[in-house]
Subunit: 111 residues, 2 copies
């Protein structure tokens, strides 16, 4: 299985969120924070490097959008390659999740 998932769900969730619609970095952090009632609070120092890495890998593409005022945002969307990677990551997550739950359930009651 993808051992990358053992540490970190960041790239998985970014890809999943972007499969809804194109979003920019700050919006991604706000959305995941809201949708999970604060369980996930992504730091800029984690989020932006991760976005750059996903783009370098060709899983997402970013595009600058500038308002008349001068405010700039970089909107990302998932590529075809990214959709394939997302599917694989979701499967890895489910396998990991199943595995952990199996151990926890089997151990439950012995504490």
């Amino acid at each position: 299985m993808d051992t990358e998932l053992l540490k970190g769900t960041l790239s998985l969730l970014i890809l999943s969120l972007l499969s809804r619609k194109p979003m920019y970095g700050y919006e991604l952090a706000a959305t995941v924070h809201r949708d999970t009632d604060g369980t996930f609070t992504w730091r800029e120092g984690s989020l932006y490097p991760s976005l750059h890495k996903l783009e370098a890998e060709g899983l997402i593409v970013g595009e600058w959008e500038e308002k008349e005022t001068g405010r700039k945002r970089r909107y990302y969307q998932v590529t075809k390659k990214g959709r394939g990677a997302l599917k694989a990551k979701v499967e890895s997550w489910m396998e990991l999740s199943r595995g952990v739950n199996r151990i926890l359930e089997k151990s439950d009651g012995q504490a």
Copy 2:
């Protein structure tokens, strides 16, 4: 939440497994591998340092047992402090798991 869980379920699962009964390192790796049909395959380079760390933190205690022949094993068991830590880690895991699943479900179908 415990951000430590975002990377790695090793210490969580070690504590959970040891709550069943005292076990030694090699036995832990074999058990988790068997009980999850190979989802988890712990390496010695991950497992033993992790056990040392858990013992240094006082969450588990190890004891050498030597057979007549000279073969030595280090059996670990969970301490009282370790049981508290396990409970907290399980809750963190469930929170993380819920959060991830919420994002995935809400995004599902948009791919």
